[in-house]
Each structure stands twice: as structure tokens, then as C-alpha cells.
Amino acid sequence: MPVLIFADHADGHFKKSSYEALSYGAKLAEQLGTTSDAVVLGTAKEDLSSLGQYGVRKVYHINNASFDTVDAQLYAAAITEAVQKTGADIIIFSHNQTGRAVASVVAAKLKAGIVTGAVALPNTSNGFVVRKTVFSGKAFANVEITSPIKVVSINPNSFSVQSTGGSAEVSPLEITVGTPKVKITAVNKVSGEVPLTEADIVVSGGRGLKGPENWGMLEDLAHSLHAATACSRPVADSGWRPHHEHVGQTGIQVSPNLYIALGISGAIQHLAGVNRSKVIVVINKDPEAPFFKAADYGIVGDIFEIVPKLTEEIKKLKGE
């Protein structure tokens, strides 16, 4: 039976996390000797057949403007109906904000076992075992899904996008749309900035920056790298930076390719939010700062001297 991938989009445009989910689902289908299809909800502003380049055979399009915003209950009902119509028994999501809203509701409706935050393709040699992060990135668990229908959501940035070329057949899917019980009264999208959970590079600052007035140099560095900005918890708690930038155990968990920590000591609760990053760079004046133990590259020194130089060097590299 086919694998069905939920390809979510932001205002009609697909994102890296969707391409990761599509690539993951297509690879899994290949591994199981079956086919993979995608389901898209709401108004799309891109050519849906192009999703075929990530390996899916068909794109089912539920083209109804009721799905232009995410209502977990309506989304789950629609995806469940799509699963039933296509006969899929494995459903793939991205473990992003939309995935966190919808995947578990879908799983419950299908009485499917769910594993969220997968970091690798399932091992299907004996059963269906998914590797996921647990203990906030401090370990992995191999979790077997024992139910006939299975739901997996993958951690952003854990599975690389694999474009094979190819084109998918686009097929409209009519489903019954329920009456929404949730009314959206305001939407606030952060424009112009790179969203933290989707960023390839994150530049983050701690108490070592001394005060909000010093964030200019951090933003310059972030800008030179097209990076998102983040901070440690005390920085957000002191109101130096907005709360949505706080990463760690109690904040946002990020898994970029590169995490640059400036003046952050590297407390275990901070590491819990960033230790899934591929490469970590730490700049701290204290050689004993615990963050160096979790880092790949580091400079022991004063951020106020180093960061402007770093930005210059990066601009040079990029020929700006």
C-alpha cells in the first residue's frame, strides 16, 4: 500500500521541510517496494507536478480555501479521508509547527501508532522501527510501531532533500469539509526574518553580550550568513530579545547545519535545544565554558573584538 506524505506549504509555497518529508516518504516507499503519493491542502501557488522530482508518483490536491489556515481538527479530518481514499498505510509529516498540530490528531483518528521527531528512515527488516531523538536530543530511541497504520513525523534538517527529477500526476481530491470550530481572529507572520526552526544557520547570543544595545553586531553577522537569530533564556527573560528567540529545554529546539553561540556558557538546558545542530561554533572568553565540550569549532576570546572581524571575513568570502 502506498506511503502518503503530507506536503505542507506556507501561503502556497513549499518549504524545505516539505521537500525533506517528500524525499523521506519516497525513499521509504522504495525501500518497501511500494509507491508514494503526496497530499496538499489549500490553495497552492506552485506547480504541484514539480513535487514529483522528490520521488512521489501522484499529488492529491484538496483545493479548498478552507485549508489556507491550519485548523487541526479540519486538517486531520481531511488527511484521514485522503488516507482512506488512497489506501495508504504509512503517513509522513514534518515535525514542524503544523506537524505538531495535526499529525497526532490524524494518528488517533486512524488508530495508528505515531513516532514524532524521526531522524532516519525506518528499519523495516524486521517490523517497522523508527529512530527518534529523546531526552531533548541527549539520546535516540528506536521505536517500533506495531499497529497496521503508521504515522511518522520527521525532525526538520535530519533527512536531506533528494531531488531525482521527474514529474507527478496531479489529481484533485474532493472531500467533505467540516464546519470549523476555531475562529482565527489575527495572524502575525514575522516577515523579512529567517524563521528560527527552518534556518540553515542560527546565530545566538547569551548574557555575554551584556545588553540589548549590543545585538547590532550579532545581527550583522547573522545577516552576512542569511541566518536566523536566537538567544539564551536569561536574555529573553530580561527582555533583551523577544521570547520567540529563546532556545533550549524550555524554549525552541533547533537543528540547523550551523549554530554559532556568542557569549553563551552552554548550560545543559541550553544544549538541550541546540545539540541536534550539525556543526556548533562557540565563541566565549572563558576557556572553561561548558559549551566548548559540545562544540566542533571554537575561539576563546572577547566577542566584542571577534564578531565584527568574523562578519568581515564572511563578507570577504562571499565577495560582498
Partner: protein, 247 residues
């Protein structure tokens, strides 16, 4: 108004993570247990604040756990709440946990069910959505603000690239994160009062687990940090470009 807050027990954030029995079990020796921070600081504290505004509110806590969860649920009662329910079972499966809570929720007819954003040990972010599906109520994920106005909840929630304000009629299940409430510490009077508050133990309903943990692994140790001299920033950029290939 009847509120149910889902409380789970997790290792303290500084615990050393290790496994035993051929990496099939978490090593609990020496681990300090706490209330999952998202449950305590955000979901539960907000519920206490709502009860303070409207003292007629009935606030219940629920946990799925064996008797070793009692100290945690008692600690929660010390913070506030009228009664706690412990469903006497243990599982790592989100469906099992949520379905047990849904059973309790059905008989309690709660207006508002609050969970944390995720547990800091299993990191599923799934239990709330499953409860909502089983009760056929709306689910609002990743809330950063929550106000009640009669039978309407106004919730700000995190979405891709921003946030959105939702209005929903009760009953509803909401998963809570930072922003929903400010952290607070229990006072001594609360701790004394907690001793007389009821902790009900109920036996689990017959529900199958749909997943099981086969084994654990620790991530491979980092190779060690490569230090670059402070006066040679260009070298760091070269390494990131040529060796790590991340810029």
C-alpha cells in the same frame, strides 16, 4: 468551569542520561524526578491563575503512572488544584497515555484540558492531539497565551513563521508552552494543604499500546573542539567553508 491539567514525570533537566540492560532501559539510579517543565510552568500555572480569577473553577490534575509518580503529583497538588487522579499504568506510547486520559476526561466532563508542549524525555508532542481526537474536540497546539471569557477561549498559538490568535468555544484541548504563564514557586501553606487533598488512583482501561521502545542509543561523542586563535578569525571562516562545508 472544570479544568484538567495533564502532568507527567520527567528526569530533572540536568540528569545524566544512561541506559541499562543492553540499552533497552533508562538508567533511573540517581535520577531526580520533576514535573515536566512545560506541564508545570505553563499549563498548570496558567490553570492556577485562571482559578484565582474565578474561584468557582474546579481544577483537577491527571497523570498516567505507577506509584513512583505519587511524589510528583503530590508536589503538583502543593502548587494548587483541588484533586489529582493517577491512572495506575505506565507506557511510552502516546496513544496509550492519551486514551487513558481521554477515558478519565469523558467521565469528568472538563471544559478545558491543558497539556505541556511536549515531555522533555520522550519529546513526542502527541498526547494532547490524541486526547482531542478521541474526545472529538478542537485541539490548539503550542499556545503562548490563553484567556477565558465565559465559555470562549482566546488562544495565541505558534504557527509556521509566526503566530495566530484563535477563538474557540469550550471544550477544547490546548498544549501549552512558554508565554502562557509566569513561573512560580509553591509556598509552604500549599505544601501543607496538599496533604489533605485527594489523590485518586484509578485502574487503566483496556487499551493497546501501538508503539514500543526497542532500544536506546547515545549519540556518538563529539570528536572534540577544534580551537582557532582569537587573532586568526579568517582561519575559522576557512574551516567552516572548506572543512565543515556549512557556509
Amino acid at each position: 468551569m472544570k479544568i484538567l491539567v495533564c502532568i507527567s514525570k520527567t528526569p530533572d533537566t540536568t540528569s545524566k542520561i544512561a541506559f541499562k540492560n543492553g540499552n533497552t532501559q533508562f538508567e533511573e539510579a540517581g535520577v531526580q524526578w520533576i514535573i515536566n517543565p512545560y506541564d508545570e510552568w505553563y499549563a498548570f500555572v496558567r490553570a492556577i491563575e485562571l482559578k484565582e480569577k474565578d474561584p468557582a473553577t474546579i481544577l483537577h490534575l491527571v497523570t498516567v503512572g505507577t506509584p513512583d509518580a505519587d511524589p510528583i503529583i503530590r508536589k503538583a497538588l502543593a502548587l494548587g488544584g483541588d484533586e489529582a487522579i493517577r491512572i495506575n499504568a505506565t507506557s511510552d506510547d502516546s496513544y496509550f497515555i492519551a486514551a487513558q486520559i481521554a477515558e478519565v476526561a469523558k467521565s469528568g466532563s472538563y471544559d478545558l484540558i491543558l497539556t505541556g508542549k511536549e515531555t522533555i524525555d520522550y519529546n513526542a508532542s502527541s498526547v494532547g492531539g490524541i486526547i482531542a481526537a478521541l474526545l472529538d474536540t478542537p485541539f490548539i497546539s503550542l499556545a503562548t497565551k490563553l484567556e477565558l471569557n465565559g465559555t470562549t477561549a482566546t488562544v495565541t498559538r505558534e504557527i509556521e513563521g509566526g503566530e495566530e490568535v484563535n477563538e474557540v468555544s469550550l471544550p477544547v484541548v490546548i498544549s501549552c508552552q512558554k508565554g502562557v504563564a509566569e513561573q512560580r514557586i509553591p509556598n509552604m501553606r500549599g505544601i501543607m494543604a496538599a496533604r489533605t487533598k485527594p489523590l485518586k488512583v484509578v485502574e487503566p482501561a483496556a487499551i493497546d499500546s501501538l508503539t514500543k521502545i526497542v532500544s536506546y542509543e547515545l549519540p556518538p561523542a563529539k570528536a572534540g573542539v577544534k580551537l582557532v586563535a582569537a587573532d586568526n578569525v579568517g582561519e575559522l571562516v576557512r574551516l567552516l567553508h572548506e572543512e565543515a562545508r556549512v557556509i
